[in-house]
Every structure is written in structure tokens, then in C-alpha cells.
């Protein structure tokens, strides 16, 4: 894992793909999730486009595990809510005045499948792509370095921020601050805890800005990278194809909405 990210280090062809190729798959899945008409299509895209690369990258187990963990509450809640409240003719179950219908359950499962597809696309990208490589791909295409820096530091600094908050909490407890109190007491605790945290963070920002300057961050001119992003004609064609397909899906969806 790199910093506070989901990335899993492996030496696979999926990992070696250009980050923008993987990002285009993610965006394609997202568009599919919102444009495809029914459950079977959604599941087919999930099975055909996401599972084989996950297996190829040696990430099938964490990929499926994350999908199941995140999706279980969605599947249950959406199926129950839609099953009971969407209505329909095929009643599967009756609880008092409420009827659980097959049509409603199907609508719930379809909604859950849309989330699953969007989530799966993003998850595959995050599991197989180091954030700094993704940012490098963006900066090579014109994203300002400072913006890429903000994204990358946010991923790494947050755990350090949590650690510091814990140290401040312990330091205040050592000075006799009672932390096992009710809601009102907890509100009062915020000042002695957040005060030092915010102030020390401001000091840190200044120090880190100086350290960046010492490392020539603001130096004008071209920057290079130790990282190498491999791209190929095949990948460029694939990205172009996915963009065309995505636009086609959006157009088809719009057509169905307006003319059907």
C-alpha cells in the first residue's frame, strides 16, 4: 500500500498499463452504470470488463472482497426499499399492509448493480494504480504540478495528521483533561484539542513550504520524473475506442429519453 491509498503492489500487466488507460476503463464503467438499461447488461459489463483484468492483475480477491463489503448494505437496503415501495403486480411477500414485489426488487437490484459497476471501475483503478503515477500522467498532459502535489500530499499527510491528533489528545489527558464525558463535555473538549492541532498544522505548512523550496519545487522550467509511464499504440486506440463507445452510450441514452 502506498500512503493512505488502496494500491496493492504487484508486477502484472494490469499494473503496467498506462494510468490513463485504466482511468478510461473506470470512466467507461461509470458511464455504463448510468446509461445501460437493465440488470443483465450491467452485470455483463461488470463480469466482462472488470473481473478479467482484476484476475490478470492478481487482484481478484481484494477486488471482490471490497465490492462485497461495500455493496452488501446497498443491495439489502435498495432491494428492500424498492421491493416494498416501488409497487408492481408480482407480489412475493406481504407484511401487514406492505407488499414486496418482484418488479420492485428488480429495480432495487438494478440500482445496486449501477453502484457496483461504478464502484468496481473506480476500485480497479485504485487497486492497480499508484496515485503518483496517475498524477504524473496528468502533469504530462498539462495539469499544474502544484495541483498534483496537493492531491498526493493529501493522501499521505492525513494519517500523520491523525497521529498528531492522537498525540495532542494524550498530552491533554496527561495534563488532567477528562475525555470520557457526555455530548456537551465533548463539545467543550474541542477547543483544547483542535486549537493545538490547527496551530501546529499551520506551522507545519510553513516549514513544508520551505522544504519544498529547498528542493527546487518552484524552479521554472521543465520537470522530469524518475517514474516511467509506458504507453503504446494499442493502448491509445483502446482509450480512443472507449471514449467513442462512451459518447455512443450517452447519445443512445439521450435518444431513448427524448424520443422513446
Amino acid at each position: 500500500m502506498a500512503g493512505n491509498t488502496l494500491y496493492i503492489e504487484k508486477d502484472s500487466s494490469l499494473h503496467r498499463l498506462h494510468p490513463l488507460t485504466k482511468l478510461s476503463v473506470t470512466l467507461f464503467c461509470l458511464i455504463c452504470a448510468f446509461t445501460l438499461p437493465d440488470l443483465l447488461w450491467l452485470l455483463a459489463v461488470y463480469l466482462v470488463i472488470l473481473l478479467p483484468p482484476a484476475a490478470l492483475g492478481g487482484l481478484l480477491r481484494p477486488f471482490l472482497k471490497s465490492c462485497v463489503t461495500v455493496m452488501t448494505p446497498f443491495v439489502i437496503s435498495l432491494t428492500l426499499i424498492q421491493g416494498f415501495f416501488t409497487g408492481g403486480e408480482t407480489i412475493l411477500l406481504e407484511v401487514g399492509r406492505f407488499a414486496f414485489t418482484a418488479e420492485g426488487a428488480l429495480a432495487g437490484l438494478t440500482a445496486a448493480a449501477r453502484i457496483l459497476l461504478a464502484l468496481g471501475g473506480a476500485l480497479l483503478l485504485m487497486l492497480s494504480t499508484r496515485p503518483d503515477r496517475l498524477m504524473l500522467a496528468f502533469t504530462q498532459r498539462g495539469l499544474p504540478n502544484s495541483l498534483a502535489y496537493i492531491v498526493l500530499t493529501a493522501l499521505q499527510i492525513f494519517p500523520s495528521f491523525q497521529k498528531r491528533a492522537q498525540v495532542i489528545l494524550e498530552a491533554q489527558q496527561a495534563r488532567g483533561l477528562e475525555t470520557k464525558v457526555g455530548v456537551v463535555g465533548r463539545m467543550r473538549l474541542l477547543l483544547p484539542l483542535t486549537g493545538p492541532l490547527v496551530l501546529s498544522s499551520i506551522v507545519d505548512v510553513e516549514a513544508r513550504a520551505m522544504a519544498l523550496e529547498a528542493r527546487a519545487f518552484s524552479r521554472p522550467g521543465r520537470k522530469t520524473s524518475l517514474q516511467v509511464l509506458y504507453d503504446s499504440r494499442g493502448q491509445r486506440i483502446m482509450r480512443f475506442g472507449l471514449i467513442v463507445l462512451s459518447l455512443g452510450l450517452i447519445a443512445a441514452r439521450m435518444w431513448l429519453i427524448f424520443y422513446d
Partner: protein, 278 residues
């Protein structure tokens, strides 16, 4: 190479200057130690030498500060960073936060300088070896101990091969072994006399071993300046709240208690002490 002429600086909203009328000339390749009590102006001098005063810290500046003929006030920090390296006290805040391994962290400055990838790889490998970081090259910089982080911070600056290396108490968080490693690395990079080193350091025994010259600051002024052997043995250091090396102290005590009659400059290193007490 480094020239300060009547250089003074006062931080914004402060009445007392942090540096007052500094006159210093540090030739190329010299290993210069800076000592002083807290608030003497040591860190401010480091910031001035690396251009953070006046480019980062505003305030009142007067006098001239030139490095390699280049006037610091007229040069941007981005340009200066390629020529003057600054290592800070706090190792945590020197980690860029934008790189995920020690190797990439060391390469960060070189990437900003726009060096070719091959060159970056070569320099990173050299510095990782020099700072004995090769074994942890693939670990996250945030997972390291304070001492290891400081070595990474020093390595990151060394990799940029600055002509002037300014270090502000770089060993303050290191154990004796880590301190030895830092000084040995500094000794190695300054052996060819191409890099000028200015180091603020409280561990006087180490300065005694490696520094050619020691500058003593007090209340923003240079109060002593000369060869390490002479300055670090001076009794005046005690009055300034700095103290002397354990070898000088032992020799001075022996003289005071009339255990020893030898006069002359007191020893400041173990080797000199051995010769002194023989």
C-alpha cells in the same frame, strides 16, 4: 565564495535584529561550523545563506550577501535551490509528502531540477549508498524513524549536489551512530574541496573533528571567528552559554587543579587530548 558584508536582518514585527552587522567570508570548499546559544541567530543565518531571508521571510534587510558572486536578494529561491542546499532541524517537515518511497523522495529535487532519468537514477543510487539508506530505499518516508527521516532529508539535498550546503542542526534528532554517519558523509562529499559546508551544530566534539573553522554568534552578531582548534578551546564559549568540548574541559580542569603543567591551546578532539596528556 560566501560573502556577507555588514549584513543585518530583522523579522517583521520584531524590534531586535536577528542578525546584526554580520561580516563573513567563507571560501569555497571550507567546512564552517556555526555555534551559539538559543536565539543567537544561527537558524536565521542559515535562512539568509539559502535565500529564505529575504525571499520567504520578509522583514528589514540591509548589507550585502553574495554567494559565488551572485547577490542572493536578486536571485529567486527556485534558482538558488539548485546551488544552495538547506537541511532543516525537523526531519518530518522535510519529507515532500508527494513521493511514496525513500528512493523517489531523494529523486524529488532532481526531478524539479529537470535532470534526465538516467542521471537521477545514478545520483540517487550514489547518495543512498553514501547515507546508508539503500536497505530502506523502497519504504515509505513516513514509516521511518526520526533519525532515518533526517538521513533521507540530508540525502535528498546531497543528491542535488549543491555548491553550498547549509545544515541547521541536522543531527539534533540522531543518536550517536546516526550523527557519526552524517558527519562521515559530509566529510566524504567535502573531501574534494568543491562543496562549501556551513553547519549549525551543538555537538561540539563533532565540529572539532571535522570543521576547518568555527563562527560563534551571540545576539545576532559574530563574536568569535577562527580555526576550530582555537575557537572551540576558548574559555569565552562558556560565558556565552555554549560550553566547550569534553576534551578541552578535561584539560582545563587538569590545569586548574595543577595536575598538569602544560600550557598552550587546549585539545578539542580525542586525538589532540591523547597527545596533550601524554
Amino acid at each position: 565564495m560566501i560573502e556577507l558584508r555588514n549584513f543585518s536582518y530583522r523579522y517583521p514585527n520584531q524590534t531586535r535584529p536577528a542578525l546584526a552587522g554580520i561580516q563573513l567570508k567563507i571560501p569555497k570548499g571550507q567546512f564552517c561550523g556555526v555555534v551559539g546559544a538559543n536565539g543567537a541567530g544561527k537558524s536565521t543565518l542559515c535562512y539568509a545563506l539559502s535565500g529564505f531571508v529575504p525571499h520567504f521571510y520578509r522583514g528589514d534587510v540591509s548589507g550585502i550577501l553574495r554567494i559565488g558572486g551572485r547577490e542572493i536578494a536578486q536571485t529567486t529561491l527556485g534558482i538558488l535551490a539548485g546551488e544552495i542546499g538547506l537541511v532543516f532541524q525537523d526531519p518530518f517537515n522535510q519529507i515532500s509528502g508527494a513521493r511514496f518511497s525513500v528512493r523517489e523522495e531523494v529523486a524529488f529535487g532532481l526531478e524539479n531540477l529537470g535532470l534526465a532519468r538516467r542521471k537521477i537514477e545514478t545520483r540517487v543510487s550514489e547518495v543512498l549508498g553514501l547515507m546508508r539508506l539503500a536497505a530502506i530505499a523502497d519504504r515509505s518516508p513516513f514509516e521511518l524513524s526520526g533519525g532515518q527521516q533526517q538521513r533521507v532529508a540530508i540525502a535528498s539535498i546531497l543528491a542535488m549536489q549543491p555548491k553550498v550546503l547549509v545544515l541547521d542542526e541536522p543531527t539534533s534528532q540522531l543518536d550517536p551512530h546516526g550523527t557519526a554517519e552524517v558527519f562521515e558523509a559530509l566529510d566524504e562529499i567535502t573531501r574534494d574541496r568543491e562543496t562549501t559546508v556551513v553547519i549549525v551544530e551543538h555537538k561540539l566534539e563533532w565540529l572539532a573533528e571535522f570543521a576547518d573553522r568555527v563562527v560563534v554568534l551571540d545576539a545576532g552578531r559574530v563574536v568569535m571567528d577562527g580555526p576550530a582548534r582555537k575557537v572551540l578551546a576558548d574559555d569565552g564559549l562558556k560565558k556565552l552559554g555554549i560550553g566547550r568540548t569534553q576534551y578541552s574541559e578535561a584539560a582545563a580542569s587538569a590545569q586548574k587543579k595543577r595536575l598538569f603543567r602544560r600550557s598552550g591551546i587546549l585539545p578539542i578532539t580525542l586525538k589532540q587530548a591523547r597527545a596533550f596528556f601524554k
